[in-house]
């Protein structure tokens, strides 16, 4: 299989590298300009009872900002650059890189801000509220970055659907729609473990505001990403989350062929949910092990969704696609 060159490499570099690095650079510059107003040593770590460790200014920002953010940005850039054939991959890469590029420097800045003009760093106030508050701009800018990332141009297929691909016998005037819901394996166990760990973390650190913020964020994730609806009809293949979002759509005219496969989310995609396969840039909504529809799409793209009765879904997709040619 020849791999198609992912489009929009410049935009990818802009969002995954330039934006986080510029934000990080600006934050580092601001931090260094505060140098004379900061105590020496500075507080670098907080425990349940306030500051519990002092260190140098370098320690405060080098690891989280100067090492972590660039490393992460580079990883996301590579993802979009080498396997970003699908818009989803490029959007996720941009969003994750920007989130990280805002959140990490924001936390470092918040840490320093509460110590400005203090003589003794150990008297610095709590940073819990700011750490939670930083989630807001980080998430907002990540959404904007994903939104502004250019999508895929329409690429209608030119070849007919292979004769060997499974079909559903359909009359000349018959219309068909296949609808099936598919759920995350072990949703309740997953939710319980997640909330329990957040609760333990909150109890251990006694910082309730960040705990509450993280709980709300995780609750939203559980709500949105655990149940999906898969539809195959005259528009193509559509997979939507419980609230109608996120929505993954493969238009009928871009379907080259659909097959049924045994999917192993952990081994292929490194986890569950809305994902990109690092090996070939295939994207997917992979929620459990077992049968799934794999669609070969124009532009060297592939889309996988794990769903019961995948045979019917794949066969109908082939049937409707070949009828539309």
């Amino acid at each position: 299989m020849t791999r198609t060159r992912p489009p929009h490499r410049l935009a990818n570099a802009l969002w995954t590298l330039a934006a986080p690095l510029a934000l990080t650079g600006a934050a580092a510059a601001l931090l260094l300009s505060w140098r004379d107003r900061l105590p020496d040593p500075v507080a670098v770590h907080w425990g349940p009872d306030g500051v519990d460790r002092l260190g140098t200014l370098t320690e405060l920002w080098v690891l989280p900002v100067a090492v972590f953010v660039p490393a992460f940005a580079l990883g996301m850039w590579a993802l979009g650059h080498f396997v970003g054939q699908s818009a989803l991959t490029r959007r996720l890469a941009a969003a994750v890189a920007v989130w990280c590029g805002v959140y990490m420097p924001a936390v470092a800045l918040a840490t320093a801000a509460v110590q400005l003009d203090l003589d003794d760093a150990s008297r610095a106030g709590d940073i819990g509220g700011l750490v939670a508050l930083a989630l807001v701009p980080a998430t907002a800018l990540a959404v904007v970055a994903g939104w502004l990332t250019p999508g895929d141009a329409p690429q209608p297929a030119s070849a007919p659907v292979p004769a060997g691909a499974a079909r559903v016998p359909l009359g000349a005037h018959e219309r068909a729609s296949w609808v099936r819901s598919t759920s995350q394996a072990g949703t309740w166990a997953l939710a319980a473990v997640t909330f329990a760990s957040v609760a333990v973390l909150g109890w251990a650190t006694r910082s309730w505001l960040p705990t509450l913020a993280f709980t709300a964020l995780l609750g939203l994730v559980v709500l949105v990403f655990t149940q999906w609806l898969v539809t195959v009809d005259h528009r193509g293949l559509t997979v939507t989350g419980r609230l109608g979002w996120p929505r993954q759509h493969v238009p009928l005219e871009e379907v080259e062929a659909a097959t049924v496969r045994d999917v192993n989310p952990m081994r292929e995609f490194g986890g569950w949910g809305l994902r990109t396969r690092v090996q070939d840039g295939a994207t997917g909504v992979v929620l459990r092990r077992g049968s799934g529809i794999e669609v070969q799409r124009t532009g060297g793209r592939r889309f996988v969704v794990t769903v019961d009765d995948a045979e019917t879904g794949a066969a109908l997709l082939n049937t409707l696609a070949s009828r539309s040619r």
């Binding site: 068909a176 729609s177 099936r180 609806l229 019917t312």
Partner: protein, 132 residues
């Protein structure tokens, strides 16, 4: 589940749709508690009027096969989970016998329709038989 409609067929579209849900329940393809797509979504998916789907869903509700919930679409009731095994066996027997006798499928189908159109009272006295 798979919905299919034929706008060229004589049977009204809403009845075709309701038939699909009934058949899916009998075949065990849908289970109690399962949610059908909202009328709006299914109408868009099949490119038909939303009232066509609503009419089908309302008929299914009147029969007790689905429950309509505001804003949440139609949910299959316990009726969808009834034991249809005997019916499957009987249908299979009809098919086997039709083929054995070399009858035209349409003949059997119309006989079946006639038999079902009778209001329950069998005209010819069937010989009572013990099931083995």
């Amino acid at each position: 589940m798979l919905f299919r409609i034929d706008p060229q067929a004589t049977r009204p579209l809403f009845e075709q749709l309701a038939d699909q849900v009934r058949a899916a329940a009998v075949r065990g393809e849908v289970a109690p508690g399962e949610r059908l797509p909202t009328a709006r979504d299914l109408a868009a998916s099949l490119d038909v009027n939303v009232h066509t789907v609503l009419r089908a869903y309302q008929d299914l509700r009147d029969e007790g096969l689905v429950e309509l919930r505001r804003g949440r679409g139609a949910v299959l009731t316990d009726q969808a989970g009834r034991d249809f095994r005997a019916l499957h066996l009987a249908l299979q027997a009809v098919v086997v016998e039709t083929r054995r006798l070399g009858m035209h499928p349409e003949t059997t189908a119309s006989l079946l329709r006639e038999a079902l159109a009778d209001d329950g009272a069998p005209r010819t006295d069937p010989t009572p038989q013990e099931m083995p």
